[in-house]
Structure formats: C-alpha cells, structure tokens
C-alpha cells in the first residue's frame, strides 16, 4: 500500500472513486470481478442510480435492496440476484447483452495494460515459463471484443504498465490505428484506465480507426505530479493538453466507499 498523497484517504480508495466517476447515469454496464464490483456499486449509489448493473454469470439490472448492503463480492452473489430484474445465464449476459452490442460500458480489472490499451489477465512472464500464472480471462476477452467502451482499473505500478502486455488476453486498440478493424472488431471507446495515481484516456477520435490509439494521461490525482507518473510508465507517455488534477473525494464518496467495501475489496495487502 502506497502512503496517501494528501488528505485522509488511500490511493486505492481514490482509484475506486476515479473508476466510479467514469460511469454515466443511465448506461448499461457489465461489471467484472473484484474491485470493479465496488466501483460500480459506488457509482450506482452516488451519481448513477439509473445505470444497468449487470454481471456475466447472469444477474441483470441489480438494484440494491437496501442502502445498508455492502457491494457484492462475486459476480454470482446471492445479493446480486435478489435485487436484479432478471436472473439469467452466461449466454444472456455475455452472449446477448455484451456480444449483441447492448452493453455500453464495462468495468474491468486486469493484471497488466499496455500502450494501446490491451489487457492481460492470464500471466506474468512468458506462456511457457510464467513468473506467475493467473486465473485467466473469465469474461474479459469476451467483453473486450464487443463492449462499446472499456473502463479498466489497476494500480499504477511498473510491473502492470508495459509497452506490450506480456500476454494480450483482451483486445484494446491492438497495435494502433486500424488494429481493431483489421482484427475484425468494431470500434470502441473512448476507453479509460483509472489507477492509484491518475486516469488515462486514449488518443482515439473514432474508436480506433485513426489517431495514435495510445494511452494519454488526462487527470492526475491530488498531489501527484506528471513526473511521478512518467517514472513508472516505461514508454514516452502522451499527455493531454488539458491535463488537470482530479477533484479529491467528496465526504459522501469516501463515506460510501468505506461503507460499501465491508473489508472485502480494499482489504490490506490487496494492493
């Protein structure tokens, strides 16, 4: 855990809040395993009460049955079903909802992200001799192929931010402009990546056809400098001409995150 830069909150809490701030009210969202479940719950409670909160094992359109409930901790939690409008299946959620093109956004965690926004959830190192094998893609690859916009989230660490991901499990903009179209995928974006120090966007005016399709530093967390971020990212980072500092968490956001987390997603040692 990194020491808080400023104020009475941790970088991990700020990452959850920055991720939630990317979610728009009224949009349909497929929510991935882990901290995304917490970020999406925060968005739902805080500024996006009409978002469609859906998870891949089948619960669609979760509405918390009580304001006292903690965020779900798994994609098949009983609490997700009790408040859902539909308890469906994998082919409903990933098949029709996501691949059918109805999911407007996804919130995904990953082990690594690269310069062009491709995600890695399967291993560190090489496939034949990994430093560490991870659980695998789950629905990450299915979602990256078809969702309209990806909000990824992970701590800003040099082992996670790579010029090229150790393994591309989930297509972002692949090798740059035209990559998605060449691979047979629809345009996507504008994608975002929320970290423990900043929020990145991507240089993609039309979802991957033109522009450099590279990651662009858009917002710094309070007290974080551009130099500190560049020191961790291993390539020459593009910086938005509108680079600004993100507002610190409001009292309401930080209270909600701590209430919703219930010690599960931000437990000591997770980051």
């Amino acid at each position: 855990m990194v020491t808080p830069k400023t104020g009475d909150y941790t970088p991990a809490e700020m990452m959850i809040i920055a991720t939630a701030r990317q979610v728009r009210d009224g949009e349909s969202t497929i929510v991935g395993m882990g901290p995304p479940l917490l970020s999406a719950a925060l968005a739902k409670y805080h500024h996006a009460p009409n978002m469609w909160y859906c998870t891949e094992s089948g619960p669609l359109d979760w509405v918390p049955t009580s304001r006292d409930l903690p965020a779900p901790i798994g994609i098949a939690d009983a609490s997700l079903v009790e408040g859902a409008s539909m308890s469906g299946s994998m082919e409903d959620a990933l098949g029709a909802f996501v691949n059918g093109g109805w999911a407007q956004s996804a919130i995904l965690q990953a082990a690594q992200i690269d310069r062009f926004g491709n995600l890695n959830t399967i291993l560190a190192g090489t496939f034949e001799d990994p430093i560490r094998r991870l659980p695998g893609t789950g629905g990450n690859a299915d979602i990256g192929a078809s969702v309209q916009r990806v909000i990824s989230t992970m701590p800003l660490e040099s082992r996670r931010f790579k010029e090229r991901a150790d393994f591309r499990t989930t297509a972002g903009y692949i090798d740059g402009p035209g990559g998605r179209a060449e691979a047979g995928l629809a345009p996507q974006g504008p994608n975002k990546c929320a970290t423990t120090m900043c929020v990145f966007g991507f240089d993609t005016p039309d979802g991957g056809l033109t522009g450099s399709c590279e990651m662009v530093l858009e917002q710094l967390f309070p007290g974080v400098s551009l130099e500190e971020v560049q020191a961790i990212v291993p390539w020459d980072l593009k910086v938005s001409p509108d680079l600004a500092h993100m507002d610190p968490p409001t009292e309401e956001e930080i209270t909600l995150v701590r209430h919703l987390d219930d010690g599960n997603h931000l437990r000591p040692g997770r980051y």
Partner: protein, 333 residues
C-alpha cells in the same frame, strides 16, 4: 376438485446414492462438466474416493473442486475460461507447470457456447472473443502442456482448439470453436424430484448447457420434492427428467461452497482444514480426513459436527429461503 392423473407421471425413479451414481456413470478418461455456480462437492469427493483417473474437467470457470480432483490424481486435463480459486494451491500450480495437468484456455462465454453447440448437436459455434488477442498465436494454441493429443484426428494431424474464419456471407472475421460434449455432468441443485426434474434458481452461468451437452447428468439435490411441486413452478426446471441419469438426496451437498436460498459458502473452511491445499502436505491431510476418511456426505457432516459443533454449520444457513413470495401463475381457465 379434479383428481390428478398420477399414473401418467411415469418417469422412473433415479434416486440412488452418490457411490452408485459414480460407479455406474463415471469412467476413467471421461470428460466431466464439473460445475460453475453450484458445485457438487459431494460427487467430487465420491469421484476421488473411487479413484477415477484421467478425467478432463470442463466448465466456463473451474473451481477448487477441480483442484481437489487434480491433486488426488483424478483430473489431469482442463478446458476452461477461468481457474477460479484453483491456483491458490501451490501443488496445483506445480502440476500445471510440469505438465501433470494439461489444458487449453478458453473464456467463460466460449465454453458456454461450446456446450450449447454440443447440446444442440452442432459441430462448432461462432464467436469473436479471441480476435485481436495472443490466443490466436499457434504457439499458444499448441503450447507444450496443451491438449494436442485430445485434438488428434484419425489421420494423425492435430485439430486446432479454435480457428479464425472469414464469414462466407459477408467476409467478416470470426472464430469457430468446436462443440463440447462431456460424458458426464455433476452439479448440486436446490431441488429435484425422483425422476430428475432439476430445479435451480440463482445465476445460471453455463449450467443449462452443461446439462444438455452431457451424456449423463448426475445431480445432488438439497431437497427431493414431489412432481406436483415441480409442476407448480416449471420455469425453475433446468432440464427435464429424461435427460438426468442419477438423483442423489444430499443436504449440504455443495459445502464448502454455497447454495442460493439455503446456505452461504463456508469461507472459514480453508482455515479450519487443509482445504486451501497450499502445500502437498496440507492437501494430503485434507484428502485423508475429509475425502478418503469419510464414506459419504452424511459421514462428512457427522465429522464436521464432531470437530466443529453444530453452530458453525448453522451460521452458514440463510435466514429466509430464497423462494418467491408470490409464485408465478399459469392461469388458463
């Protein structure tokens, strides 16, 4: 009051014990749909006790029941999208590294679709999940611990695990994934009748297609109910009785996993026992005590109560069973 016609409800009873079900329907070398959301640890343990070998576990996500079967020497091959909790075990990681466990990676959705293709008798199914990813590299498809032997064709060549095509209709790129047809499916459910009409509520994940695709479906049920209860809420039936080979009445059959409406997952189980399987020693201890050392689910539960008391189990029980307050009505006259 019209007298129900009971003589027409002619499905034969498939009630049996877990031992009998595994003896009759699981063979060495089988492909096993091992469950995704509701795991039958009861049948998992019985498969291990009977020393079944060389099984291939398949499911959208595989769970620690597959870790257990792999460490015990029953499972040596896996096709899945996600190793859910499976990798917490160092011995299991070791087996993947040295090739004692072989596997090919898919995704949650493509495994579901492959089971759907198997269930519907189609040779393959189409999806775009791996476009633009490293899964398309030949050295990944046929990595050194991959299931190439399982994919060997009659002429000796190796079939790919999936293949990129251009649509003959509009030239759009997509992937074909081969149908999956497991020999046997194991799962736990909330309730079933004797004939095997299985009712499940909660997120379904790939369960339905796991059932339809598999030759034999073996189900442990928390409750056995009469056919008349099944017919009150037929929308909860996942597959009809004729598709099911064995029904086992096994309360707590999903423990240490959870069952919507009945009990939560036992998160203290790994601490209480060696279920985390973090070392070979703890894994063997767990197997000796909780699998080989018990004859069936009731002796497992008896041991649990003896070791930890009734209270610990009862704490997992949900307060209200998750059953609709107002069941659906199918009014027609």
């Amino acid at each position: 009051m019209v007298e129900p016609i009971t003589s027409w409800q002619s499905g034969r009873s498939k009630l049996m014990t877990a031992r009998e079900a595994v003896e009759r329907f699981v063979s060495d070398g089988d492909t096993l749909y091992s469950g995704f959301n509701i795991i039958s640890f009861s049948l998992t343990n019985e498969i291990i006790r009977q020393g079944k070998k060389h099984l291939k576990a398949v499911a959208g996500s595989v769970t620690p029941n597959v870790t257990l079967m792999a460490i015990a020497g029953s499972v040596d091959r896996i096709e899945t999208g996600y190793l859910s909790g499976t990798l917490r075990s160092k011995p299991f990681q070791e087996m993947m590294r040295d090739g004692r466990v072989k596997w090919n990676d898919y995704t949650n959705m493509t495994i579901t679709l492959r089971l759907m293709a198997g269930g519907m008798g189609m040779p393959f199914i189409c999806a775009n999940s791996f476009l633009g990813t490293d899964y398309l590299k030949p050295e990944i498809m046929n990595h050194s611990r991959s299931l190439m032997e399982d994919r060997r064709r009659e002429d000796g060549t190796i079939a790919p695990p999936y293949v990129v095509i251009e649509s003959p209709f509009d030239g759009r790129k997509a992937l074909l994934y081969p149908a999956l047809k497991p020999d046997v499916a194991i799962v736990h459910c909330q309730r079933a009748d004797e004939e095997g009409n299985i009712q499940v509520w909660g997120p379904m994940a790939d369960t339905k297609w796991g059932f339809w695709a598999s030759k034999h479906v073996l189900v442990t049920a928390e409750e056995i109910v009469p056919r008349s209860v099944i017919s009150t809420e037929p929308h909860f039936t996942v597959v009809p009785g004729f598709k099911v080979s064995a029904v086992i009445h096994e309360p707590w059959g999903a423990h240490p996993g959870g069952l919507n409406g009945h009990y939560r997952a036992d998160r203290s189980w790994a601490e209480l026992t060696g279920f985390g399987m973090t070392t070979w020693e703890s894994a063997r201890q767990y197997l000796d005590e909780w699998v080989y050392g018990t004859e069936d689910r009731s002796s497992y539960l008896a041991r649990y109560r003896e070791r930890f008391g009734d209270g610990l189990l009862e704490v997992l029980r949900v307060k209200d069973k998750m059953i609709p307050e107002q069941p659906a009505r199918y009014g027609w006259r």
